[in-house]
Symmetry: C2
Subunit: 157 residues, 2 copies
């Protein structure tokens, strides 16, 4: 079974995630930039995502709301750079409106239709980073990436 590796950098306020997928870099880029695909896989299984706005180009911005039984969690950010094998974006959970992470994703082509996704999330304090790690975020990462893998395997990306 493929699992995401989630690591806290010992010297920098960074979380790094890596995960292999049965998809090309172009397919992973599409899964992260096409809003109709993105809502189908991002986050834990228990939440349903709805796009508020989404403009996946360098200089664009995005916002979506994840909900469960009437509870809502909203997120927004800017796309600093989009594609072809790299996305750099800002990320704020609106429950903590002054918090912001700088996220860098890149897609390492392994050949034979496989790609290793590298995701780096940088914040400005170790406390904020460690609180995020202890929030149960790994459930969202694992379940979300499992959904993304299924989309790829089923030929839906």
């Amino acid at each position: 079974m493929t699992e995401a590796k989630i690591e806290a950098d010992p010297k920098l306020p960074i979380i790094r995630i890596t995960r292999e997928f049965a998809a090309t870099p172009a397919q992973l880029l599409r899964a992260h930039t096409d809003p109709d695909l993105f809502v189908q896989w991002c986050g834990p299984d228990s939440l349903v995502n709805k796009i508020d706005y989404w403009d996946a180009r360098t200089g664009g911005s995005w916002r979506y709301v994840a909900s469960r039984n009437g509870e809502e969690y909203a997120f927004h950010g800017s796309f600093h750079q989009v594609g072809p094998d790299r996305i750099v974006q800002t990320f704020t959970f609106e429950g903590q409106p002054d918090g912001v992470a700088l996220e860098t994703l890149w897609f390492e082509d392994l050949g034979d239709g496989r790609t290793r996704l590298h995701a780096q999330s940088l914040v400005d304090s170790f406390e904020g980073r460690d609180a995020w790690l202890q929030s149960g975020m790994e459930v969202g990462v694992e379940e979300g990436y499992a959904k993304l893998e299924r989309l790829a395997v089923e030929g839906r990306i």
Copy 2:
């Protein structure tokens, strides 16, 4: 004489700058968001700034080119958050296109028409942070903020 204080955080890959101005928070916000004002003060005296694009709202983006005797230095980024007393933005110098900083500015109202500007620049390595510090950036900071102070004192903001 008012000078900017430029500090490297000992434990985080952050540069922090503080500087007082004879201006209100609203005036400093305008100086950072109105492109016609911004080009008049940002950076060292020896460079002339020209806006390429500029959309200073939450979710907008910006690019400008600074030139001197035919040499050009281009910069671009996204406005993650704008105002009223805080700007969060990404920043890339296109000479190092994979480098990106997450910048947070906030305007501390000191009363009597004075404001302390706090600027924090976060990057993902100490090497990158220290190279930036050693690049002569303090000349641009000091000369730029001196121009901004003059604009405020002359009632042009």
